[in-house]
């Protein structure tokens, strides 16, 4: 190539759609090309389904049925809430923290210097992956648990009002947790710190509300991810907390706020 050709080698600016395709392909290629992704998701799926079966068996074998249909539904998600949320949130944390710890973040920002775009790309890929995994596991756990309970005539079906929405919402909870964890990782940069922060936001804040006097518990607790997740996956939401719609907004607000702060921080900080 001659110098003249090099000078004129200013390609046409890619369209916004092409840029969106680029960044999603970038982040997706990085996510799928490390073994830890598939191993983590496989472990999450196996453990969640396995634990759901254990829980369902225990519930099915209790002589006195737990009160109300609400329990029969929430039993579906007991294991899911613990064993799917943690590994998927850790995976989300790693999408940023592993790049910071290895220095690869500078390669990423050199390839795509528009840092809001990088954040949006990671959020799109991690959010979509978590949503797919979340819905698959939510429906899978529901089907498994209800099949095991139906033998005792305690099962629910998707045909019952409110049930499909609750199961869909359970899948979304995983997406919300993953995106919150992703935003925290961008802010904190270190893997251990970000995982601690993510688990604190997802579980610990709600846990701290439990010993509060009951009126406070609801007033404060309804803003937490765990209480909101409970409301959107329950067939009969608890009074005193936000409605399922309000709780969905709480679930959306956590990742939105975290990602917003993350974007403000990473665009102002030297890489």
């Amino acid at each position: 190539m001659t110098p003249a050709q090099l000078q004129s080698a200013q390609p046409q600016a890619p369209s916004p759609a092409a840029r969106a395709r680029d960044i999603v392909a970038f982040e997706w290629t990085k996510l799928r090309s490390v073994r830890s992704t598939s191993i983590t998701l496989l472990v999450a799926a196996v453990v969640t389904v396995g634990a759901s079966a254990v829980v369902a068996r225990a519930v099915a074998s209790t002589p006195t049925p737990p009160p109300g249909a609400f329990s029969a539904l929430s039993v579906s998600f007991l294991a899911y809430a613990e064993y799917a949320v943690i590994p998927v949130s850790v995976l989300a944390v790693l999408q940023f923290s592993s790049e910071y710890s290895s220095g690869l973040i500078r390669t990423t920002f050199a390839a795509v210097p528009q840092r809001w775009t990088v954040l949006a790309g990671k959020a799109a890929v991690v959010g979509a992956a978590a949503l797919v995994i979340g819905e698959v596991l939510a429906f899978g756990c529901f089907a498994l648990v209800q099949a095991m309970l139906s033998g005792r005539h305690r099962g629910l079906s998707l045909a019952q009002p409110g049930v499909p929405g609750a199961v869909l919402a359970a899948g979304f909870v995983l997406c919300a947790c993953a995106l919150t964890a992703l935003g925290l990782a961008a802010i904190i940069r270190h893997t251990a710190g970000a995982i601690t922060a993510a688990l604190a936001v997802i579980y610990l804040i709600a846990g701290l509300c439990l010993p509060l006097p009951s009126s406070w518990k609801a007033d404060v607790g309804r803003f937490t991810i765990a209480f909101a997740a409970f409301q959107v996956t329950a067939l009969h939401p608890q009074a005193g907390l936000f409605s399922p719609t309000g709780s969905m907004l709480v679930l959306a607000a956590w990742p939105a706020a975290t990602l917003l702060v993350a974007g403000l921080v990473i665009t102002r900080r030297d890489a």
Binding site: M1, L6, P14, K30, S33, V34, V112
Partner: protein, 310 residues
């Protein structure tokens, strides 16, 4: 072309880069030299938009890096070749970068071959030697066939073959008309590779000049002459405008006259010359003289001189 204008980067009270202005021209290899902590890497990070300058601008092709879409087609860079995810294969690493800038898969295969990594393309890079990681970094930098290239210490960790490969590659890239900026602390390597030098110390510009001028203009450059009539020749050369110093072993170290002038003077006066040699310090020596000066007040004067010389 890379243009730095009044580039300044402060970390608290310390100026890592201090009012740095210079231009990196296409078609030649520009060596970016300076002692550790001189601000080379910080300057490169600012050029690549990774760090924000406190003052001043860094432009590539007249544009800030942050404003560039698909920048890998404009600027290729290797800052830290070890900055990789150890669990990813060499091919996937390059593929991710290629798709991020709309570059086709065929280029990935080409670059793996160019870097001599085709045989290990499917291996995870965690097991790569430092030399292999350097090659992978260079393959990534060349993915988009960019007209501007920045390399921070590219020969670190390479064996003799690898160093030679980089040297030839850099020279080829410059011969193609590309702008090539290479930082290094290995003067001997820069002597073989760089056409032009930008030398900084404590974040300030010390010199911006063709590589051969640094050694020629050094105070250490002189001509050694030996003659059986050394005393007569010394008198003659001093009269002819030279400055003569006697060396151990009977040689005369002459500055102010070049070798042909000395030979002509000796011949015209019938004085036999047994040895005549132009001596230049190594680039390393000239560089050490220059950077040693950066510690004292002469730094400003030297930078001023080189600035006026441009």
């Amino acid at each position: 072309m890379i243009e730095l204008r009044g580039l300044t980067k402060r970390f608290g009270a310390v100026a890592a880069v201090d009012d740095l202005s210079c231009t990196v021209q296409p078609g030649r290899v520009t060596g970016f030299l300076g002692p550790n902590g001189a601000g080379k890497t910080t300057t490169m990070r600012i050029i690549l938009g990774l760090a924000a300058p406190t003052a001043g601008t860094a432009l590539i092709g007249g544009r800030r890096y942050q404003r560039t879409l698909r920048p890998l087609r404009q600027v290729g860079s290797v800052l830290d070749a070890t900055a990789l995810h150890g669990g990813r294969t060499a091919r996937d690493h390059l593929l991710s970068l290629a798709v991020s800038n709309g570059i086709g898969r065929a280029r990935v295969t080409q670059m793996l071959e160019l870097a001599g990594l085709a045989a290990v393309a499917a291996q995870r890079v965690g097991g790569f030697s430092l030399g292999m990681k350097q090659r992978l970094g260079i393959a990534a930098a060349l993915l988009g066939e960019p007209p501007v290239l920045l390399f921070d210490e590219p020969v670190n960790g390479l064996d003799t073959d690898g160093v030679r490969w980089i040297r030839l590659l850099l020279r080829q890239l410059a011969a193609d008309g590309r702008t090539v900026l290479v930082s290094s602390h290995l003067m001997s390597e820069m002597e073989l590779t760089a056409d032009h030098l930008i030398i900084i110390g404590r974040g300030r510009l010390l010199a911006d000049l063709p590589a051969d001028r640094l050694t020629r203009s050094s105070a250490r450059a002189n001509v050694l002459v030996r003659s059986p009539r050394a005393d007569d020749l010394a008198t003659l050369l001093t009269a002819g405008g030279g400055c003569v110093k006697r060396e151990d072993g009977g040689g005369l170290a002459v500055t102010g006259l070049d070798a042909p002038a000395i030979a002509d003077l000796a011949a015209a006066n019938g004085i036999a010359v047994h040895e005549l040699a132009s001596r230049q310090p190594s680039l390393e020596q000239a560089y050490l003289d220059l950077t040693a000066a950066s510690a004292d007040f002469r730094a400003g004067a030297l930078a001023g001189e080189s600035g006026a010389g441009r």
